[in-house]
């Protein structure tokens, strides 16, 4: 147990402002972005390896995920009618600017790929679009980790090394789960494998993150965020184990897919809750900064 740190503050008030992003918009977008990104990557590989049914499912999932996610982002704005101001500039110093361009590309390309798949028209254009989402997809699934880490929120900023892998794992599990739920069992083998790999990556990176963060990991373990993160871990690990044997039964497939989806959602809601909690308590801002100052001071 980490000993309770002593620190001074202004009447216990927070030093920084907590993220004002809403539930369910922001965490659901994180889920949908991950789902869309990895579904695109799966569509690319499914196309090359001749998994036609899986290619169709993932192309549609990628397009729907990106479109619904973009809608949630617009609804999240204080001035939704100014949504297009996001594409007014390209700013490398702003992960949200970079992310807006990534999402715009991912949304457009995945929509073309899905339309071509469903209507059968312009197959060459559809294939080219899906190939391009092989680049935008993995970026869509992981840039959101930079988005949250590039803030003064201690539980997020301090975790900038592990969060991309946690998000990547969660996204793999999300897309794998949907792929196995929406594709006939006999053709969903690779989706189950993606789900298993994602569950493993999410679980391992979550454990590593909490180990390394020390005091800054507390918000991930306590209160509502703690309950969400614990539920996420149980659902993800359980769903991942089930996915390994889900090829045998429809019931197991459904259980596994739903558990993984619920786990991924719990992870995203838990991340937001932990970020808010770490911003609300001045301890997480003041103590590490004070230690840094005192450490630098010659004794």
């Amino acid at each position: 147990m980490v000993p309770e740190a002593e620190f001074r503050s202004y009447y216990g008030r927070p030093v920084i402002k907590a993220p004002i992003w809403h539930e369910p918009h922001m965490p659901t977008y994180l889920y949908l972005g991950g789902l869309s990104g990895v579904s695109s990557m799966m569509a690319v590989v499914a196309g090359f390896t001749g998994h036609h049914r899986l290619a169709r499912t993932t192309r549609v999932a990628a397009a729907l995920g990106a479109a619904a996610g973009a809608g949630l982002l617009a609804a999240e704005l204080g001035r939704p009618e100014r949504f297009l101001n996001m594409l007014r500039v390209f700013k490398p110093t702003s992960p949200m600017s970079v992310g807006s361009w990534i999402l715009a590309a991912q949304g457009g390309l995945s929509a073309v790929a899905a339309s071509s798949e469903l209507t059968g028209s312009l197959p060459v254009v559809g294939d080219a679009a899906v190939l391009a989402t092989g680049v935008t997809g993995p970026l869509t699934a992981t840039y959101t980790a930079v988005l949250v880490a590039d803030t003064a929120v201690p539980a997020w900023h301090e975790a900038y090394r592990e969060l991309p892998f946690l998000f990547a794992g969660s996204a793999l599990a999300s897309a794998g789960a949907l792929g196995m739920l929406a594709t006939p069992r006999a053709e969903a083998g690779p989706a189950r494998a993606v789900a298993v790999l994602g569950a493993a990556m999410e679980t391992v990176s979550g454990v590593v993150m909490e180990r390394r963060l020390g005091q800054a990991a507390e918000p991930y373990r306590q209160g509502r965020a703690g309950r969400l993160m614990r539920s996420a871990r149980a659902l993800t690990a359980g769903g991942g184990l089930l996915a390994a044997v889900a090829g045998r039964s429809r019931t197991v497939t459904a259980l596994s897919g739903l558990a993984l989806t619920a786990g991924a959602l719990c992870t995203r809601f838990g991340i937001l809750a932990a970020g808010r909690a770490s911003a609300a308590d001045p301890k997480y801002t003041v103590v590490p900064q004070r230690q840094r100052l005192d450490g630098e001071r010659p004794a």
Partner: protein, 271 residues
Amino acid sequence: MTERMGFFTDTSVCIGCKACEVACKEWNQLPDDGFVFEATSYDNTGQLGASTWRHVAFIEQTRTVRMKEDEGDSGVDRWLMSSDVCKHCTHAACLDVCPTGALFRTEFGTVVVQEDICNGCGYCVPACPFGVIDRREGDGRAWKCTMCYDRQRGGLEPACAKACPTDSIQFGPLDELRERAEDRLERLHADGRSEARLYGESPDDGVGGAGAFFLLLDEPEVYGLPPDPVVTTRDLPSMWRWAGAAALSVAGAVAVAFAGGFAGFRDGGRR
């Protein structure tokens, strides 16, 4: 660009009159932000926010000091008062992360939100290491101190500095203010007030120096200020490298999953 302008807030002469809060509200026509009884000293303002661009903090301290040789120790109350404001950082996180370009750096070296461009994404809010900028409910946009950009354009000093009756808030070219602050600090130290220190004046700190800096009489966290703030974007290149590695691992994991490396997942679905 003209000279970089700034605030030097010398809290050792602040009398807590809140004239700065009022002048700021009046000049900038800021709406009220709720009337709350905080039950902490004389501060019912609470903190800086979308509609509070100057905030006077009150800290009541009891410390024991020796009054005279024969009288022993007697408790003496000390009141710390400090008018907080946006720091107008050299490396400003709010400006860095703003995706629309609504936040910009003015010809005075200050950081200002353009209200006709801000779409209320809220990214600047958790990015600020000082908790200054916030989104105004009902309005939907982010707001903060402009160091009275309009008044400066008209050759006037900001409303808060103009209204301050003790010159606790001083406005001027930043270089000049830094020299003035050093002199003031030396004098206070010579008077035996060794607890006096400057906050935010050093260009070597985590935000590259603040355009609005302070002379404090206790540790920054006592005033609700972060003791060692660092602009979050300093680590951004490293963040992108980690995210890039994660993106590659996504591609790798999917490729492995389809490559059929897992015998148990073979499904005969290939046509």
